[in-house]
Subunit: 136 residues, 2 copies
């Protein structure tokens, strides 16, 4: 049931691990195509992926357009609203970094290395890169 709580507003949209993993792939792994998302190591199923991409587009968090080089392919990109989820993603990562113990490996540094040194600076430079790459 909907409520008037601001947290619930966000969670209704992306309070689901697959949604945030797709956003992670767009931000950190430069994925743009359906098949690239499908190959995430968490093993997302094709019907969940299609559902979440459609939800994210409907909510204005990602955009889709035809690839100019391969007309039959669709390119997915973040919108400004999607890029603005960066602080949420980074805070989840930093929390996990503290509590995951030795579980994590080199990806930890790929995603979190800069943020652990200087969060404000890392957010700023990630945001700039994403605006350049995702918004025309």
């Amino acid at each position: 049931m909907r409520s008037d709580c601001p947290l619930n507003f966000g969670l209704e949209i992306f309070g689901d691990k697959w949604t945030l993993l797709i956003i992670r792939d767009l931000i950190f792994f430069n994925k743009r195509y359906y098949n690239e998302f499908l190959n995430a190591e968490e093993g997302i199923s094709t019907n969940i992926l299609a559902d979440r991409l459609s939800l994210l587009e409907k909510q204005g968090i990602i955009s889709r357009k035809k690839d100019e080089n391969h007309k039959q392919k669709i390119i997915y990109r973040l919108t400004q609203k999607g890029i603005d989820l960066l602080p949420v993603i980074i805070e989840i990562g930093l929390w996990s970094d503290v509590y995951a113990g030795d579980l994590l490996n080199e990806k930890r540094d790929l995603i979190l290395g800069e943020a652990k040194k200087d969060k404000t600076k890392a957010l700023q430079s990630l945001r700039e890169r994403l605006i350049e790459e995702h918004l025309e």
Copy 2:
């Protein structure tokens, strides 16, 4: 499937809207008892609530102890690991505040008023209150 991604580590635990809504209730609405969580306006079902409380306890994010005044009642509280989720919750709230338009009402200020003025200060004072109230 588990992966070695730091984001997935966190999302495996709380990448579900009900889990974060329980944590919201502990942080902002001072709920401590099963029946109080059950009465959240989002309408959580009793079986999902029981499942998520058990998951959160198993993950060390909340603790449970007997109420000294009513021996048959259980009090749920946050652990340090749970309190450390504050920045995640606040960032979700701030994002929602930007994009929810006029949807939200007075709860917005209850939860986000301080954070919108000065995020660092709001986090600090919330953290201090939670440590006092939840950790002995």
